[in-house]
Subunit: 335 residues, 2 copies
């Protein structure tokens, strides 16, 4: 992390009050570095940015077809969703299709990311369930893969479980690296997370968006997943969330996914290129500004799309009375 | 901010997932640098770490005596409080003593920092008032100073208002610098915040704790404020908060105050020394770990006090199920 470079300033009045440093990698499908900031090969955990990659072996196994998952539900497998009612209902329906209940999910419960929904639940005295966990779609996909392959459903969160081993190998394959070179940690939702160089995460997204080099089953799975995310962007995040707005603003020309601790990966499907960002301190507040600025510098975003995404590009800092007292401004050049 | 150095690592499984860099300054009352990390003279906003300094002109004016503020209420003037019932009641009582209502406060409302209290309010459908704002004690002190000096009470948040001008000069005097060299921004609660070198913030805390060089009115005000904070540590923050625990763990031998955007200042009253910390990215999660480690390296904290503060010193990272999946570990040496 030592080579992290300045990405954004948090300005208040006449001073830069805080700064966010980090790394950016832009690659093509062969892994060739097209542009970068900081250390494009910094070792990071992909966190939830890996979810669209983890959905590939689920769809490639035939599980989505067999259990009749809808496009919304395939998108939800890739989601860090908001826990809005349609997300929770879609996850519950996936479990019904598997003949399971929400209790089969091994992710812990948490209140929805979507604050109005969380506040409403608190007012009504409703405790969150595992279905509200932002990862419930991913976990439902893991259960589907377990069912499809005859693996046990009780311990699918273990790193040694066939489902996790299959996902590890699928992510490694998309990233173009040996699976035993991926470092494993445990995510907020209890399952393994993948530690790999930032550039390899970008490469995996390039493969997801332009899967021409993959075998046909995998390539078709990638196409189904990208199509589902493009068609149902609300299901990958939610109403107030950047991932959803990025996909909407570009009419699906760009597909991206955030991960905890300041991670984002995005691809332009069909263009054999992708970008990955890591904010070194792990915070989210400058992440989307940096992603938008990087996409614009790469000319992957059009000026009118940039205008639509302006609230994410230059987020204001407001005080408790709503008055703007500062702003976040990116400060880097992709080279 | 360019000279920020590594202060803490956020570890997950086999990897350092994120890092926090920043600055530390340790000074004596004359401003001599005793130890540092990064750039001890980095320009920072003191944010709420200035509150105990801002209380000095209020107490020195005689307002706390005239209006009969209790020790708890003097501590509350220095607080970023939790919005627990006793905090809100103490603030409301200060306003009653001034012949004013909560509406006289110009800080915006927000739900209490104390989550159980905030959740209870949401369940009961109670909206937060300005009294719940973590700065309501500071604002009540500003109103007391306005009343005491015959200034208007309606616009006390303006940088040109006599109350703010008095506070600016008091903070500058304690920091040992000309008031026109302090940069002004606007805080979350609407009033001016003070931009100054980190080492000058530390120097001001040294003066607060060991006010021998100040004139007698100011020195007595400093002593009253330190006594109030030591006697009523709950009123400077709250039950689950580091500031309160630090003061309790040391029996009041160390007095410290956090500020937004990763700021902390602490002094050992009577020892003519103080420390100030800035986390460059502005986040709070590593701040208290860094402060505890720095205090221990300085031998200002005893081993048994370190043990009591261990939950703040090495905070675990847990997933939604409560399982520990990582931890925050400091990584610096004060030189």
């Amino acid at each position: 992390m030592n080579k992290a470079e300045l990405l954004a300033r948090v300005n208040r009045g006449p001073l830069t009050e805080s700064v966010h440093t980090g790394h950016i990698a832009v690659v093509d499908g062969s892994g060739t570095l097209l542009a970068g900031v900081g250390d494009p090969e910094a070792l990071i955990f992909a966190r939830s940015a890996a979810k669209p990659l983890q959905a590939v072996p689920v769809v490639a196994s035939g599980a989505a077809d067999k259990f009749g998952f809808s496009g919304e539900q395939i998108a939800l497998m890739c989601a860090s969703h908001n826990g809005e009612p349609e997300h929770v209902e879609a996850a519950a329906d996936m479990l019904r299709k598997l003949g399971l209940s929400g209790e089969a999910l091994l992710c812990g419960p948490h209140y929805p990311y979507h604050e109005p929904t969380a506040d409403r639940m608190k007012r009504q005295g409703i405790e969150p369930s595992r279905l509200h966990n932002n990862c419930s779609g991913k976990h439902a996909g893991m259960l589907a893969l377990a069912r499809m392959t005859g693996a046990t459903a009780e311990d699918y969160d273990s790193p040694d479980h066939p489902v996790q081993q299959t996902m590890l190998r699928a992510v490694a394959g998309l990233a173009g690296m040996p699976h035993d070179r991926i470092a494993l940690g445990i995510d907020g939702c209890g399952v393994p997370v993948f530690g790999l160089p930032l550039g390899q995460l970008a490469r995996a997204f390039a493969a997801l968006g332009t899967p021409d080099r993959l075998d046909e089953r995998q390539a078709n799975a990638c196409r189904s997943i990208v199509k589902a995310i493009r068609s149902y962007p609300k299901y990958i995040a939610g109403d107030d969330r950047f991932d959803t707005h990025l996909i909407r603003a570009t009419g699906g020309r760009i597909v991206g996914k955030m991960g905890a601790e300041g991670v984002f990966a995005a691809t332009v499907p069909g263009q054999n290129a992708a970008l990955a960002v890591k904010i070194a301190d792990g915070s989210a507040r400058a992440l989307y500004a940096v992603v938008v600025e990087a996409l614009f510098q790469l000319q992957w975003l059009e000026p009118d799309e940039l205008a639509v995404l302006e609230p994410f590009h230059q987020p204001p800092i407001r005080n408790w009375s709503g008055r703007q007292v500062g702003s976040i401004a990116t400060d880097f050049r992709l080279v």
